[in-house]
């Protein structure tokens, strides 16, 4: 005690508090998800959490790190929840578990554990699974299906055959197909009018889930756990690019509102691109990081071959983050006129 250095007062904050608040911020989105898409997501969250904690525990043991301190820090649970929320809701349990284990073992611990991972572990899991299991990762249930919980569970646990009804196209997919066909007879505006798929403006049910993430994200900002830079840049870049193309040809491109509330845009802007470990840390760096992720997400989801582009966009920006940080160091106190 005698050699303990100042300061002797510490703010009441901890890593587990930070992670807990991130989880709390995800709750509005989860509630909307369970209500509108299906309560099976709650089971997926549990499966992912258990897989993450098990993998974390094993890796801590192998690496000779204290179990209690790191298992309770909550970082594995955040990763698990992001995986469960970005994977298809009726993905088989083993796929969710496999993705989570890969995220914890490879993307997190093999790089040095908490705070050391250059890539967002949840997005690594998503990218690996969509490359390895493209069919399973593309099966999104038709929202109108209204499947009872028991049936959903049976599908997740592999007790019931994966029916065709599952593989209904996501709103993003439907649009992409239309675009790819280059069929001038298909008009985006007409497609979007189909409320069974597209809901009021961005995908039936999903738009409210995205709204839940937006709400939780704003709370994170209010609690000062994230700064405004990344979400604003992400959403701004996505809106500007989609808006420009939409104005250029509204028959082929969907509106910015559609893109912001579809797929992983909102959860990406507030919960994934804001990950401090794998993202940028300087204010200008965060703006570049967010904008880059938003632009890439749009390009990949509209012109690429995958259902959504957020995961690859974030991973690509993770790759550039150290360089961006290096080049965007802010001027310090007393040196602003020089910079």
């Amino acid at each position: 005690m005698m050699f303990a250095p100042a300061p002797y007062l510490l703010k009441d904050v901890s890593v587990s508090q930070v992670m807990t608040q991130v989880c709390i911020a995800l709750v509005p989105g989860i509630v909307a998800y369970a209500w509108l898409i299906g309560p099976a997501i709650l089971v997926q969250l549990v499966i992912a959490s258990l897989a993450a904690l098990a993998a974390e525990s094993v890796m801590l043991k192998i690496r000779g790190k204290p179990q209690a301190m790191f298992l309770s820090d909550g970082s594995a649970v955040v990763t698990a929840w992001l995986i469960a929320l970005t994977f298809p809701p009726l993905a088989p349990w083993w796929l969710v578990a496999l993705g989570t284990v890969f995220a914890i073992v490879v993307a997190k611990h093999l790089y040095g554990g908490l705070g050391q991972n250059p890539f967002n572990p949840a997005m690594v899991a998503f990218a690996v699974c969509i490359v390895a299991f493209p069919a399973l990762m593309s099966q999104w249930p038709s929202v109108g299906l209204r499947m009872p919980l028991v049936d959903q569970l049976n599908i997740i646990l592999g007790l019931a055959p994966r029916v065709d009804a599952l593989s209904g196209a996501t709103p993003l997919d439907a649009l992409k197909t239309a675009l790819k066909l280059g069929d001038s007879s298909v008009d985006v505006a007409q497609l979007l009018a189909n409320q069974d798929i597209f809901g009021n403006f961005a995908g039936r049910g999903w738009e409210w889930v995205a709204g839940g993430y937006l709400l939780g994200g704003l709370w994170l900002w209010y609690r000062k756990l994230i700064t405004w830079h990344v979400p604003v840049a992400f959403i701004g870049a996505l809106a500007v690019l989609s808006g420009a193309l939409w104005l250029y040809d509204p028959a082929r491109f969907a509106s910015p509102l559609f893109h912001l509330f579809s797929g992983g845009a909102m959860i990406g802007a507030f919960f994934i691109a804001t990950d401090p470990v794998s993202g940028c840390t300087t204010p200008r760096g965060k703006l570049i990081f967010g904008a880059g992720a938003g632009l890439l997400a749009y390009i990949i989801r509209v012109f690429g071959g995958y259902p959504d582009g957020v995961a690859f966009a974030v991973l690509l920006m993770n790759l550039s983050a150290p360089l961006i940080d290096l080049l965007t160091q802010p001027p310090i106190f007393g040196m602003k006129d020089k910079a």
């Binding site: 303990a4 007062l9 930070v18 106190f333």
Partner: protein, 583 residues
């Protein structure tokens, strides 16, 4: 007076814990059983002791003489007998010993004859010297000799004089109580600083959690009719850091590489102004100061304490609770646990906090950095602490300097907010001390290298000079022979050939070894230069021998020279460039 305040970025709001110690007025602490007065109590040179064991001293008597301009005198805090002048443990985190004068008080507290300084008729230079002799130093904690900051810059006009009454550290209230109870003397002291520096404005900054102090200061300023502004600044740690207060009051940012005077600002603590006034108006040197005694004690309070009072004795006055397990000197953000409870109160001691685990819970284990950036947002100097932490940990000290580690004021904001509870400031102190140590090592090595090289150069030069002397002698011999031969025989070719055979000795004798490496080349250049100088001297000296010549002698010499030149025995002189051209 209304004025625009500026903001500094970052800062934190720890619980202030100030109310406990402001309920009671300042009390005078009794004379302790013995006083241990360290000689080195300010930045700069260590004062030389002017007393020895057995001497009787009076209160205010000089016991340590300032050593150099940046140094301040030390005085006996009370009357008594000098027990010893010896090494004692210091109130410093290092726990190292330093030279102290130990005094056994006689209890009479008898002052040495002293009188007010004749301020009205004194030159500024004399005032500064008097303050140095009175041991006036910055009492905000940095203890920089005050007189050293009272010379106006010749190039930059002094615009603002900032007086620091912010007292932003939690728990500390000594400046608050000083301003409440002795505002007039503080303001008069500020008047002296104003007279010496001639600033355009005087701004007194006080955090807005001290309304009583601000009111007292305003009243004193009005009563004395001074044009000083008393400004309440937002309570935000570290608003009392000199650079932060200057920023808030003037909008100017002083970088680490500059002094505030370069920007036309100077800053003093209120307690410093008070002691300056006591010295000028009463002739009292700095022998005591106000100390807040608080923390895990029964009766927190501010005491006027003699310098050298053992901290443990002072703490007893406030009745510490039995579970007290240490004493923090200074505030909880930048202070430190003293290595020994017996260490003395010094001029830098503004606060003693009795430490226990209830007030200051043990730190939870350190977690890895998650780069959340809280530290960067809290840093008042807008640094990137997590980057500096990363490089400090990796001992990549060059990188820490690229991230401006020396702009860090060690305020502790980053450590305070870190969710991973990383003792960031500790890493930065480590990195700084390592960089300093390496710098010292490098300087020592450079010094040794320079000495060695100089020795080598000197030896080479001596060798060269010796060789040159020999060559010169040989050349003179040869010239003499040649001259004799030329004079005797009438320009005989064989003789000239013989002379020619002798002549090349001179260039060969001056050793020009082939340079093998740059160091040697540098050495050679030095030697060459030395030789060139010697040659120049020689040439300058030579004409003296041929100054008072008769016309016939001169003619003879000229003839000889002409013949030698014709026979290529000598270099063409500037007087005969034609000879050179023909060749």
């Amino acid at each position: 007076m209304l004025m625009n305040l500026f903001k500094f970025k970052g800062g934190v709001k720890p619980p202030t814990n100030k109310t406990q110690s402001v309920t009671l007025p300042i009390a005078v602490a009794p004379i302790p059983s013995r006083l241990v007065v360290p000689l080195h109590q300010s930045i700069g040179g260590t004062p030389r002791p002017v007393v020895q064991a057995g001497d009787q001293v009076l209160k205010g008597q000089l016991i340590g003489e300032a050593d150099g301009w940046i140094s301040a005198a030390i005085h006996a805090p009370t009357s008594g007998t000098v027990v010893e002048v010896a090494m004692h443990v210091q109130p410093h985190p290092s726990g190292l010993d330093a030279m102290c004068v130990v005094i056994a008080p006689d209890g009479r507290d008898e002052w040495i004859a002293h009188q007010p300084f004749d301020y009205a008729n004194a030159a500024p230079e004399a005032v500064r010297e008097y303050l140095q002799q009175s041991g006036v130093v910055g009492l905000g904690g940095a203890v920089f000799p005050t007189h050293g900051k009272l010379t106006p810059s010749k190039t930059v006009p002094m615009e603002e004089l900032v007086i620091n009454g912010a007292e932003c550290e939690p728990f500390i209230t000594c400046d608050d109580l000083l301003m409440r109870e002795r505002a007039e003397e503080v303001v008069r002291g500020i008047g002296i600083f104003r007279d010496l520096l001639q600033p355009k404005k005087v701004l007194i900054g006080i955090e807005d959690n001290k309304p009583e102090a601000a009111a007292a200061m305003r009243a004193a300023v009005d009563a004395l009719g001074e044009p000083f502004s008393v400004i309440q600044v937002p309570t935000l740690y570290p608003a009392g850091g000199a650079k932060q207060l200057i920023r808030v009051l003037t909008g100017k940012e002083v970088p680490a590489a500059k002094r505030s005077t370069d920007l036309g600002v100077q800053c003093f603590n209120v307690a410093t102004a008070y002691t300056a006034w006591r010295a000028i108006s009463h002739g009292e040197p700095v022998v005591s100061r106000l100390v807040t005694v608080t923390g895990n004690v029964h009766a927190p309070r501010n005491y006027e304490v003699l310098i050298g009072t053992p901290m443990d004795e002072l703490l007893q006055l406030a009745t510490p609770h039995p579970d007290t397990d240490g004493i923090i000197m200074g505030g909880p953000m930048m202070g430190f646990l003293v290595p020994d409870r017996q260490v003395p109160v010094i001029k830098a001691t503004n606060c003693l906090i009795a430490h226990d685990d209830r007030l200051f819970p043990p730190k939870p284990p350190e977690m890895p950095c998650i780069r959340c950036g809280s530290c960067a947002q809290a840093c008042p100097h807008e640094l990137q602490p997590f980057e500096m932490y990363w490089f400090s940990r990796a001992k990549n000290f060059g990188k820490t300097q690229e991230y401006h580690i020396f702009d860090c004021i060690e305020c502790g904001c980053c450590s305070f907010v870190c969710p991973s509870r990383i003792p960031l400031v500790q890493y930065f102190r480590f990195a700084k001390s390592e960089i300093w140590a390496r710098e010292r090592e490098k300087n020592a090595a450079d010094g040794a290298k320079t000495r060695f090289e100089f020795k080598q150069v000197r030896e080479e030069r001596e060798k060269a000079e010796k060789a040159e002397k020999l060559a010169k002698a040989a050349a003179a011999q040869a010239a003499k022979k040649a001259a004799e031969a030329a004079a005797a025989a009438a320009a005989g070719e064989p003789v000239a050939e013989g002379a020619a055979a002798v002549e090349p000795v001179a260039p060969e004798a001056t050793p020009v070894p082939v340079a093998v490496d740059p160091e040697k080349a540098a050495k050679m250049a030095t030697i060459q230069a030395a030789m060139e100088r010697a040659k120049a001297q020689r040439e300058a000296a030579q004409p003296k021998n041929t100054e008072a010549l008769k016309a016939t002698q001169q003619k003879e010499i000229d003839e000889i020279e002409a013949r030698r030149q014709a026979a290529h025995l000598t270099e063409a002189t500037p007087a005969a460039p034609a000879g050179e051209k023909t060749e």
